[in-house]
């Protein structure tokens, strides 16, 4: 029983990370209709920046804040400068672009900081919550940060005018323009937010899996799985999906197929969801009257 609880706790923790990644993916998907394959590498790169800052002596939370801000700006920059010229390009060109970004970030990180793994500090003390070795403060902290972030974003999108403008721009760019919304900037904002969320995900996971340029590749795949399971057009769904995938991954890994086929498991989830229920568990089917 203890083992089971531990697995659930571990699953929720990884699930929180996947939820963050999924959230970033959904953000970009909802605002631009694109899937950002470079999401993981961007997050990883931001985490390295944080590491460099901490290494240079900055306190953790200062580095954290700065990194999130830089990531936000970076995301904005990428959308405005790199992607905007291609905005009417066909799907393939954009996919190629994302893959290119993926490669560049991965290689840059390796170039600047090498491929040897590094330690990344955690803001949470390494204690147990209940004193029985089952759940740690760290795990709880990760889940808490994720939920807080989700709450903030939900409020932003549902109750603020800017959030509404972003949603409108994502759904129908032409109509949004006809309401005076500067659609390009909304897209850029979406990217900025996604990059910031990714950076947070990276900084949450780095203490657990150690920092290295290939840290996020596998996690990205789980993020995809989570986003698809929950519904790629739906932020709350994506987060729920992330948690579900996290817990399932741990349970299946421990009890069924062993830890060696985890990525294959993710692959099966991805394909399965895409085939059986592409809108995901919480995805809404939008009714359109012609």
């Amino acid at each position: 029983m203890d083992f089971f609880v531990q697995q659930i706790a571990a699953g929720l923790t990884s699930g929180a990370i996947y939820a963050c990644v999924a959230l970033g993916l959904v953000m970009i998907y909802v605002s631009t209709d694109h899937i950002n394959f470079a999401q993981g590498e961007m997050a990883m790169f931001a985490t390295y920046l944080a590491w460099a800052m901490i290494d240079a002596g900055l306190p953790y939370w200062v580095a954290f804040g700065l990194t999130v801000a830089i990531a936000f700006g970076g995301g904005l920059f990428i959308q405005r400068v790199v992607l905007k010229p291609l905005e009417n390009a066909p799907v393939l060109a954009l996919v190629v672009c994302f893959i290119a970004l993926l490669s560049i970030f991965n290689a840059l990180a390796g170039m600047i900081w090498s491929y040897t793994i590094k330690q990344f500090p955690s803001p949470f003390p390494a204690r147990d919550i209940f004193g029985n070795g089952l759940v740690s403060v760290q795990q709880l902290g990760v889940v808490a940060v994720t939920l807080i972030m989700l709450g903030a974003l939900t409020v932003f999108f549902r109750y603020t005018t800017l959030g509404l403008a972003m949603r409108a721009a994502a759904q129908n760019a032409t109509s949004a323009r006809l309401m005076g919304v500067r659609v390009s900037w909304m897209l850029a904002l979406g990217w900025g937010l996604a990059a910031a969320i990714g950076a947070i995900a990276g900084m949450l996971v780095a203490p657990i899996v150690f920092l290295d340029p290939n840290m996020m590749t596998g996690i990205l795949v789980y993020g995809f799985a989570g986003a698809l399971v929950g519904g790629i057009g739906n932020p709350m769904g994506a987060v729920a999906g992330g948690f579900i995938v996290g817990v399932l991954e741990n349970l299946v890994g421990s009890y069924v197929i062993g830890n060696e086929l985890k990525l294959t498991f993710a692959l099966i989830v991805v394909i399965g969801v895409l085939l059986l229920k592409p809108a995901g568990i919480f995805g809404r089917v939008i009714v359109k009257r012609v």
């Binding site: 799907v91 290119a100 090498s114 795949v221 799985a225």
Partner: protein, 368 residues
Amino acid sequence: MAAIVNGWAMKKGFGLVAIIFWIVLALLPMVGLITEDPSFEYYMFMGQSMLIYAIAVLGLNLLIGFNGQISLGHSAFFALGAYTAAILMTFGGWPFWATLPVAGAVCFGAGFLFGFPALKLEGHYLALATFTLAIAVPQLLKYKPIAPWTGGVGGVLLDKPEPPEWLGLSVDQYLYYLCLIVAILMFWLVFNLLRSRSGLAMMAIRDHAMAAGTMGVDTALYKTVTFGISAGITGVAGGLSAITIAYVAPDSFTLQLAISFLVGLVVGGLASLPGCLIGGAFIVLVQNSAQSISDWMKTTFALRYDVPAWAIYGVLLLLLMYVMPTGVMGGITALRQKISGRRTTRVNAPSSTVVRPGKTAGETTPAA
């Protein structure tokens, strides 16, 4: 429909260039008779790699350039072909040349099966599914229960085939001819496929799937079969790589490999057969010069660590998307169109045949 009638099918002159080209390639090893250069054998090996990548890119091109689907996971089929060949040679004692058709067939089957779920996916989603495939494969290859066959993490070491005495060729020259013959076969196959009614159907699906369907084309069947053929061709390339490198290991078949195929395809030019050869050559050249580029960058920019080949791929891909999205062949055809275009005002002018991928990764935009 205009876009369906591809330029190269109409150009007879092109056929002659192709024949001359292949003949030149066949004569290259003969240079070895004249030269004393010790690295000649290495150039032969490079030639093998270029041809192998060209074949792999050909497979991918069939799927993306001519049928409008997408795949970021062809490294999986390449791996499957390589391991099939390796296992047949090691455990079955099969002669190397016999493993290639099997590798092709197995990969055709795998691709065909993957084609079914792929039917429901378009654009980004299919990219996503194949991306996940590419990432899952190396881990899958290391799976302990199948290690007795796959050699686990360490992979499988093979013996390079020895050429028969009476040919008087070195090992690398022999293998070069093997790759060349297979390449000619593959290109000839695809060339004929594309000129057949099936080929027209494939391209019709790329250009406008719904219209093709209403004209009686069984879209689902064609798409799955094309996926299969595409995977099969890349699988044959994989088998060749197992033979020529004489080693297969899981970490040779990562996402990076799939990305390099994509780079080759984009550089050469989508929906262009000669482009595949350019792409294949390009990939090998970049891999080989990666170290020198890295050294140069280290000194110029005072970097501490090596620049991996894949950074170069990334930057190139990005630049290409802005500057030359139709690749080298697209650039050449556009140039030719410019020179001769004033005299012809055909809508299906050559530049429209070197396809710009459309919204569903394959429509052509009619030339102005």
